[in-house]
Symmetry: D3
Subunit: 276 residues, 6 copies
């Protein structure tokens, strides 16, 4: 993660929550009152985003100290401490909700990703994310996927080509679509083609796609499609895959399984801040 960007995001989020002032803590406590608080897991899961605790609190007050007990990507059990923070009470409490909201969401994503990785249990096939992230949080959510053992698909429309049915229909064929793109783009951009049939897979191979995606295919179809693709081309499958059925894709030989749910439907991991 780009820490400079993280700081800009955190500023924006604190401004959203605190606004002109924290009407409760600023009237109850004086700027001199100090305290100590512990971030504790309230359910089992995998942690992501602990640096937000330290960087976030430093933005709010330079004298808040922070000790981390868990690293990103580490498992946590219900009741285990994640970090201890100490310093002036007002910023400790004013910053709590934003930090928890981010930490819980990121840890929820890491936890779900890790469940998918373990349910798949493959030495070959990797789990990856999609662009179905929360607007404004893509950097944080894609990072959380890697904490859970997953990999990142493209970050946006700018860093990878994805040729879909509309593009193919418009150009007339996969070959023409790939050619059109290659003739205009440099060598640092990968080209992925979405396919649904055996015929399309063959076309995509001939067109020289860098990655071929099998859209909404059964494990059997995927196994068959993978055979059609030389090892120098990466394969990916997407659509209809859940924690329940992911194990069926284990021996298909596909390189990547992309899962939109990792970011659009992860439940927050329950974490609380206990003031002492």
């Amino acid at each position: 993660m780009n820490e400079l960007k993280l700081k800009e995001l955190l500023k924006q989020f604190f401004l959203e929550d605190i606004g002109e002032r924290d009407v409760t803590s600023e009237t109850i406590f004086s700027p001199m009152d100090e305290g100590r608080a512990i971030f504790v897991a309230k359910e089992d899961g995998m942690i992501a985003g602990v640096s937000i605790i330290e960087i976030g609190y430093k933005l709010l007050h330079s004298s808040i100290a922070c000790q981390l007990y868990k690293r990103d990507g580490e498992r946590v059990k219900k009741g285990e401490p994640i970090a201890v923070v100490s310093g002036p009470m007002i910023p400790l409490l004013s910053g709590e909700r934003v930090i928890l909201n981010l930490l819980q969401r990121m840890s929820g994503i890491a936890t779900l990703t890790n469940q998918a990785v373990r349910a798949l249990n493959s030495n070959h096939t990797r789990i990856c994310d999609t662009r179905k992230t929360t607007p404004g949080l893509r950097m944080l959510e894609k990072y959380a996927v890697t904490c859970g053992g997953g990999y990142n698909h493209r970050f946006g429309l700018y860093d990878g080509v994805m040729i879909k049915d509309n593009h193919i229909a418009f150009c007339g064929s996969i070959k023409k679509a790939v050619e059109r793109v290659r003739s205009q783009l440099g060598h640092m951009v990968k080209i992925e083609v979405e396919t649904e049939t055996k015929q399309q897979v063959i076309e995509a191979v001939e067109a020289g796609a860098d990655i071929i995606m099998f859209d909404n295919r059964t494990p059997e179809e995927i196994r068959e499609f993978v055979q059609l693709v030389p090892s120098s081309i990466i394969t990916e499958v997407s659509g209809g895959i859940t924690l329940e059925n992911i194990a069926q894709y284990r021996d298909t030989g596909v390189d990547y399984i992309s899962l939109g749910m990792l970011t659009h439907s992860a439940k927050a991991l329950d974490i609380s801040l206990n003031v002492q």
Copy 2:
């Protein structure tokens, strides 16, 4: 929703996704190519955020036309159209993901809120949200809660006092905490006190709280606590309430049930954009 703020958010989100350019659509299509696409529900639910389709696309290109078939808070069946957009292909496709991500998330929140409202099925008790929203999206998510039939709790630390255990412990008593706050704040700010015991509820009533919250209490306790509170003070319950058990709170007489899950754990409603 403040439309000016919505536009600023949408700009930020489009910049995140599109970056310097859409490497696929800008190489496949020319700026002259036009098309038409339909937003279609892929599962049953409740819609929230349709104005984002129109406002979002207008930001990307002034000549995109938009026709809406559903209003916010309306139910949608799998397969039903939500909106039709037409205009230049490049912005139609470049804007798709951001708009879908927001529409799906907001509709997911509205759908979950509405499930809670219907499961509770009360003429008296209202469902409300919390500050456990996605950082950066609070305005959108709180709006989605109202589309689903829920109500908004405070928007941030700035527009409502919430006196919790730490504040009470620090001040010595609920009474002292409420007095401390009242002596400093004007008459437009409401004061809510979190309570866990009968004794605390009685204290909060005597302290003149505007709202008394029962934290993590059983339906039986709540029924008892509500009796202790005069009708001029609003009651709220929070903690441990799910879609499964919410009906048990129907006859407790409590005024508000606040649910963090509405915003931190809603699943996105599946919606797609079909280009024609």
Copy 3:
């Protein structure tokens, strides 16, 4: 005040005044030249905003030291020192005007508020501000009001309902207007109703307003109106009140007097920075 927001405001204000460079100080002094300067009151008044001296200068140069002699809300006599700053001459002088402009304005507001509080001289009735603040400075000006012994009315259109004549006319009655609002808003938002006649006051009481405002009424009318309102509802008066006539409102029993002049027509308190 939210210190993070204060820093963002100060950055914006320094950029407005300094632009690309301070053509005078950057050519006269070298970055090595150091100095010391005192903020001194040039007339009697009440101080507000001293933290801006320290936070502002730290933004301009990390090695500027600052010692404060006055706290916000403290009285100051002509000639008394407020703070001493020392460090590199260039930022000391480049930051002077912005810091003085804010300090003088905020102290002017605190001074005027305090004059109103003392002229009113009531144990019961509080002075409060309005939304007639300088655009962009609301947080600072509302804070200055509290330094002078006043209270804050709502901060914006987002944190409190104010039902005025247009709203009432449109809905048909005060009762319908209040109902319409209550049916849509949660329990953390207070509802104030503006009234001009005895009849309207009675209606507002029946409608269950949280606050009833008497718009442009004489002390006699107010005394009479207050009798119509149960103690659980807060009363406020606004319009036509000046430093000269405010004492006439002392025994009306009204809870709040709101004064637009506190922020829209306060004179700056004269303060200077003397370099030594």
Copy 4:
């Protein structure tokens, strides 16, 4: 005024006041409800900033129409209409306060400036402003000064040199200070020197200052000092000048009188928006 900058400022100010939503108007009115409202002067004065009505409302809603009855710099009598706006009620009311706050402040500055110009009543001497403006509003306030018949001094530290006592003391003499500055700056920057004594005026003339300012001098001293300065050098006086005593400076022959009060202590001109 730079209209692009004006729009950015207005956006920021509307976001400050409206926040996430206007809780009153958005619940009372539907987006379909339309209305008409008149800006009316509630006291005599001079108008400045009418374009803010049109530009501001256009930012809030593209279909609000605006008709202006007064131009900037025009006199207005109590009760006279300034502009009529019509369109959707929600933005009409949500934008009211910000637009009035700016219009009242700017018109207050124009009115005070014009009072000064008329009290001075000189064919030769011009009134000008200072950098004692409200942080964030300099462009608007300096523009308002010109509407009232005044002139602008430098806009910031970047567009004009002002050599004061500290600079002179540090360099050893006015001559050395001016030389130091001239040796580093190009030909588009004017150099003003603050003087307090006859001796200093003579030095400043010899040093080749572009403008010589007489700081806190009596009309008699000024008349004397002006004689020492060749007509190619501009003279300015500052300090201790009020509406009451400004006429005494009429025949001093000085070129400019700068008045901090124009911007730091102007009272807002009372203007209201009457919905019809």
Copy 5:
């Protein structure tokens, strides 16, 4: 180019140049005065960025009309018209410099790129840019390279891996460096390895690099190195290549020649705006 991003950049650039107001045009012309002006090439070259004329002027004033005579990537002769704009004089003149500065710079880059492409005169080898762009203008400058017939290398540190000598030294070998990267990154990111010797090229091939760059090699070395690389891996050469010697690289068989000079040392193409 992302038009939304382009607009944000243009706003920032106009604010830099115009500041609070255009002191010349705003005093000479009234807002009613209209005019017409032609953008004319003052030397031969290739045009890039014409959309900036239209989008830029629309930002300044909605009623400025614009007619374009040249498309991006088109050659222009000295004296040829590029575009005609008409509308209010004040924005026509206030926007002139920013638009010319961008258009001249972008056209200068396109012209230089095109000179390189023609000097190379190869059916196989492509010219590409680097990250040696002007900070803040990368999107515009990389777009200008494509207008001149060149291709884009990676846009930033985020969309492509470049393994250099430091990385290799730290990891112990090219193989270990590539493995380390591949084990952490998804399938959409390409990996380029910088090499200087035959041995390193062989290692990079074995490590499975996507692109192999020959750093500062002679045409002879490159010809030899290219033979070592299978056609599925892309080759690139960088360093020491000028307009004068680029033809010597024509038959080396390398896929890409990257040239920092395209963006860091292009001369602006002379273009003027003639008001009629």
Copy 6:
């Protein structure tokens, strides 16, 4: 330079280059790995912008140390060290390109300016810049000109009047144009008039211009024109002047020569960062 503005620019530039993360360095190095690197000149020239090394790296990581060996405006020989930086490898490498791009561009401008100053070799005539700077970088580029021994012309449209042929044509005469401007602007703004003929120069003198510019005139014409202008008015020449012919202007007696090429066509000075 305004350091606060410099920091805001640097943040924006780092975000442009690093985006969400540095895919190379963040995967090769751990946050614990530290290193040391030297900025070295790869050709002879003049340095400008060294403070960017320190301020830029501090923004990326607070623990990076920086030692500077050269000051702005100092000559550097090929191979000489400019600065040494040490600290964590990831930010050392992630920040390299942005810092080099700025340092090279600014040093290129300083070098070219200094070449012009030395080619002119005049005790009287000064070299100055224009507004033909890179949009977004004006502060940096104009500062670089001063490092090379040049002077700054106006910074934007806001801090100096430039009356050109269009303005004159519109007003009817130079005299009317100057009067029109003077009647509206204060005493801190200088007025420059562009002239092409002897007649125009005489008119400009009579109109009381502060600066008279001779547009595209030969050295002979300039010598003649200068004679027509009293010494209290500054003269400037612009257009058609190159490093090759600038010496011909040495004895013309003109005060300033403005050169657009200093900023629009300077070649970057080659500087590299060598990691040790």
